[in-house]
Amino acid sequence: QESLVFVLDVSPSMHPYLHHVSKATAAVLERKLFNHKNDEVGLVLFGMEETDNDLRREVGEAYEGIVSEPITLVDGELVTKLRALPRGCYAGDYVDAIVVATDMIFKKYGDGKKGNKRICLITDAQSPIKEPMEGMSMMEQVEKIAEKMEDHGVKFDAAILRMNEEKRESGSESTEILENLASRTHGEVTTVESPLCLFGALKPRTVTPTTLYRGDMEMTPGARIKVWVYKKAAQERVPSLKVYSDKAPQSDALATHVVKMDTDYKSSDDPTVSIPKAQRAKGYYYGQQLIPVTPDMELSLKFTADKGVKLLGFTEAANIPRHYYMKEPNLFVPEPGNRKASLAISALARALKQTNMVALVRCVWRQGQRNVVMGVLTPNLSFEDGIADSFYFNIVPFAEDIREFGFASFDDRPASQLPSKQQEEATDLLVQMLDLSPSDSVESLQPEKTSNPVLQRFYHFLYLKSLNPDALVPQLDETLKKVIEPDFSSEHIEKLQGLCSQFTLKTKNSTKFWKDRIEAAAKDDDAEAKPDVDTSGSGLSFDSFATRQVEEVGSLNPVQDFQTLLARRDSDEWVGKAIQGMKKIIIDLLDSSYKGNTYDKALTCLAALRSGCVMQEESKEFNDFFRVLADKCQGKRLSDFWDAVIQRKLTLISKGEVSDSDVTEEAALAFLTSRTVKEEPTTAEEAEEIDEMDALLGEAV
């Protein structure tokens, strides 16, 4: 449970940004409502016209222009309040406001450090701060506040708005004060240069880090360093929602609507018999054969390793290219409070930095772990007092994880595909023009300050739905659009177009996307309708249509074309052409099918092809094609088409029909049945492909 008090500056200088502050703070609560509904939130506004806070009531004076909302359980009402922040009319004093917020926390939770308590200030730090009470310097006063916060375990975060470039330099005294407060309480001060950064700067919750490993990092058997290992980044995903069951009657108020997944393993001999877990073994493929491995066997045979982190050695950073990093990174910090460990890591990290080297380590995080990971340590030098030097850790691949694919060298490309000097100059200019990191201190779209737009939209939608079950999916917030689309000025766009015009890019007509295919199919339908109109409208008789010189199997009337071609006697190439054309039509039809809309036509074509092949004694042509088709369909997207084929009892051409066939009648019949009984013929390759998809989609790994 966390309690958070927002301290928001609503002074006039903040007015241009207040709607961003509204959205960003509301977004924080929208998330809390999902994950942390027991969190408590309070609100302090300063720079207001009116004054309404406990301290003022007690002291009777001072704390002017500060309005507080008591700390309560997070709820939708507070979201509404944040979405409609009032505009203040005085320049507010954030120090006073912080004092009010701290006081609220003390009063609510009493003394002691227990619980996560946090104050989050958002200000542009443009308003003057009042002189502190007599006999005290500003710094002394801040020191006193910091001490109090520390005593009560209150963390202090601040987001300082610096969106106006002219004002960027001013208010440095404030920054110093706030940074001092934050570092004393282990909080963070973020400079916010754009509305987008504000979303990123506001943390919905402080995550208490947990260690993955505590123990020795063994450099050699005689030399160890005590380290703790944490996650440095962990992907926050869109939470998975529960499957909803509408089986329970609407009137049942107590219904949970929960659906549970029930998996039953049935004997392949007798589908009524369930096989209990203890009786199941994993079967791994060894060649074509399944090797059963029982849990006992697995336990005794499987690789195990002893807990520990061991150094293999050091190597040049270039030997571990960046794209080797496999997973989310970790951080190796010296054991907290251990001076020796801190010094040892600092010495190694700085030496690595100076020599541009990295350390290779073998890690087993838990005793008896069933695998090991190899990783690389790179230095992370500290620039802040009180923070130790540490190592970033990234997992690197094993030999088995790397796939060596070759690609043509760019130099081997035909000259037409190589850029000219002017074209290279154009991309050079492009790279300079769209520079997001023009200097060391300025960087836009920093990952650290860029919030996940999908998560923001997801929680916002949940919130809207909680108010109105029929709410529509909201547009992506304008501010967050900057993550997905560049923010170019019109002048930029013009220049950009100039640069791009240096290149000739031609989109090929392709029907490879479904929507294109559907459109193409729709056109086909139109075309199909046309001949009728034409026959009636123009003088074209149906006879002339039928006797027109058919040269290929068209998509319009494939069966007719096919038969016409087979009947042509002027050359013997027509039979082959007809069969090949028909095959292509069938494949095209299936490939372009959308929810099975082309199956009937494909089936008719297949039947025509078969009878044509029987007539022409071309059994091999048909049988080979039929087998390929079977592989293409079964257990895949087109398996329902295959069901229709079976229903029509279409199968291989057997010896009985065409004497040169190599298929017996039994085999032809069995072809259909045997194939259907076969368990989904998914090959390892396909599984791999699916894995790849998962991997690309970001679900697996």
Binding site: A233, T427, W514
Partner: protein, 622 residues
């Protein structure tokens, strides 16, 4: 995955390869053609000092190759054929040719038969001692023909056909009838040429007989077309390949394929086509199926969704729900998909950043490799190459948004230059797409030290000692290719042992372990000691030992607890618990007394008196 099953592009996976993508065969048909002539039964001294026949050595290598192949290339097909045999067994009924295994996919029995063949080779196949058939027969010629027949005629894309010929006889027609010798030589060479014309490659694995070098010039250089400069290196190369047969790694090989074709939008109206490739992905133990362990037959899994309120089976569920803002909120799958799909653009350029902006912790999952494709958009390659070169020149990467429908991310497109060495391409040209975390994903564990203190920053003397250490423990030429995954290798050798019913599981070397012997070298020990003395102080080991001893004693509270337990045990011994329990007298004891028993037995001390008594009775087994 359930929520994104209807990605309309999901079928676009398997696209035609780009015409310029270099590619090799992804599946092999291999025939091992083995000379079983009498010279192959000569004894061979191996490097390890064992003596065996040439034939045995060859069979061992082939067995090793098969054991690797069944794991790494399980779609390959293999055939084994001997020439210069006593018995014959082949489709042409030619003398001196024995087909031991027709071309087929590998199985455990295939491998077992092959590995145990040597034991009864003489009785089953036998070597031609010169008396079995006439000198006019040409087993090499027939063998090549049989092997070619096994490999079949059909030329399939991505299929490699190979004949691997093993012999130690550099003059196959030595004993041939002088009248026909020249003819035999000519027809055999022609036969080999014909095979090669059909796309079959013939690879020679020559072995030198004791005391004489295998002379390629006699015959084989003409049979396997070779340039002169190749010839001089060939013997060395062949020996190496022979070793490689045995030493190849068990690694599942993947077919190179485009995972997905994407478009990269550089500006409105300007897009290029790219292929994405998965070059680095964690290898797994592979798919398994559940079996019934009593019959070893596959079991069928049946999944049902059951409504917990009514017990009814839910056949389709398009709605998802959660509790939010103290209400139940429902969402359809379509709505969820819509929320997640925030852009139609696949990859959108946002700008460029200095490569230094890409921090070591800016990573989430394995990178994806990008290479231009002309397929959808002509001219893509040109723009890609220009951009690639500009990025390298300016030491920048491109920042883009990858609008994948399930997990959209900011990505860094980092250019990679091609590296070629004498063996070929080491690193292809292209870009790596690195997935970047969002603000939510990044944590600040560095701050842990803020509250605990004890932070030290190294001074020059410490850094110097660390540098000396780094220099000593420098792994030159390190490459991840040298390190195999011990868990995976162990899994493969388990499968092999189970599959082939071997008595022992082959030991797998764990090459992730550091070279501990090497680290004991005095020069290294000295550097490590110097580092420790400087950084930790000279008395570090003693201090550690003392601290360790202190820990062994336990903390103050642990010590107290221990003392209390001792007291309790002592006190507890004063009572006859069993008797008290039988007499129902436990009730009369005080809670403190009852706790003596419990503490002595290390049982929980919580609860009311009745609960304590019950616990005691339980413990006494009453």
């Amino acid at each position: 995955m359930a929520d994104n099953g209807d990605d309309p592009y999901a079928d676009e996976e398997e696209e035609e390869e780009d015409e310029y993508a270099v590619e090799g065969a992804t599946r092999d048909y291999v025939v091992f053609l083995i000379d079983a002539g009498k010279d192959m039964l000569l004894q061979l001294q191996t490097k390890r000092g064992e003596t065996k026949t040439y034939l045995e050595a060859v069979m061992e290598s082939i067995t090793e190759d098969l054991k690797t192949r069944i794991i790494s290339r399980d779609t390959d097909e293999v055939g084994i054929c001997f020439i210069n045999t006593r018995e014959k067994n082949n489709s042409l009924s030619s003398e001196g040719v024995y087909t031991f295994k027709e071309l087929s996919k590998l199985s455990a029995s295939f491998i077992k038969d092959t590995s145990s063949l040597c034991e009864n080779f003489d009785s089953v196949i036998g070597s031609n001692d010169g008396s079995n058939y006439g000198a006019r027969e040409n087993p090499l010629y027939s063998g090549l023909w049989v092997a070619q027949g096994m490999l079949g005629k059909s030329a399939t894309k991505n299929l490699g056909k190979r004949i691997l010929l093993f012999t130690n006889n550099d003059d196959p027609f030595e004993n041939a009838d002088p009248v026909t010798k020249a003819d035999m030589r000519r027809t055999t060479i022609q036969r080999a040429k014909d095979s090669q014309d059909l796309g079959i490659s013939i690879e020679l694995y020559p072995m030198s007989r004791p005391g004489e070098e295998f002379n390629l010039n006699i015959f084989y250089k003409d049979m396997i077309t070779m340039e002169d400069d190749e010839l001089s290196n060939f013997m060395v190369g062949a020996e190496k390949r022979f070793e490689e047969l045995k030493a190849r790694m068990r690694k599942k090989l993947f077919q190179k394929r485009v995972v997905r074709k994407i478009t990269f939008t550089i500006a409105n109206g300007t897009s290029i086509g790219l292929g994405t490739y998965a070059m680095v992905r964690p290898a797994t133990t592979g798919k398994y199926e559940w079996l019934d362990s009593t019959t070893n037959k596959p079991v069928k899994s049946e999944r049902a969704l059951i409504c917990t309120d009514t017990g009814a089976i839910v056949t389709e569920s398009t709605k998802r729900f959660t509790h939010y803002n103290s209400k139940r909120v429902l969402m359809t799958r379509e709505e969820l998909a819509e929320v997640k799909k925030i852009t139609d653009v696949q990859v959108r350029l946002l700008g460029f950043k200095s490569i230094a902006c890409l921090k070591d912790y800016h990573n989430l999952r394995p990178a994806t490799f990008l290479y231009p494709s002309e397929e959808a958009i002509k001219g893509s390659t040109c723009l890609f190459i220009a951009l690639h070169r500009s990025l390298i020149r300016q030491k920048k990467f491109a920042l883009a948004f990858h609008g994948n429908s399930t997990s959209p991310h900011l990505v860094a497109l980092v250019p990679q230059e091609e590296i070629v060495n004498e063996y070929g391409q080491v690193q292809p040209p292209g870009m790596h797409m690195i997935y970047l975390p969002y603000a939510e994903d990044i944590r600040q564990p560095e701050k842990i030290n803020l509250s605990k203190g004890g932070v030290e920053i190294a001074a020059k003397e410490h850094i110097d000692k660390a540098m000396a250490l780094i220099k000593k423990l420098h792994l030159r030429e390190f490459t991840v290719y040298d390190i195999q995954n011990p868990a995976l290798q162990r899994h493969y050798s388990n499968l092999q042992a189970l599959g082939l019913q071997e008595d022992t599981v082959e030991d797998v070397e764990d090459c992730t372990l550091p070279d501990e012997e090497g680290m004991k070298r005095p020069s290294i020990v000295a550097v490590v000691q110097a580092f420790k003395d400087t950084v930790y102080g000279a008395d570090h080991d003693q201090e550690e030992a003392a601290a360790e001893a202190e820990r062994a004693k336990g903390s103050v509270t642990a010590q107290k607890r221990k003392a209390a337990a001792e007291v309790a045990t002592k006190e507890s011994e004063k009572y006859n618990w069993r008797q008290l329990a039988l007499d129902g007298e436990l009730k009369k004891l005080t809670v403190v007394e009852l706790k003596y028993y419990l503490a002595g037995k290390k049982l929980p001390l919580s609860g009311k008196k009745e609960i304590l008594i019950e616990r005691i009775l339980n413990d006494l087994g009453m």
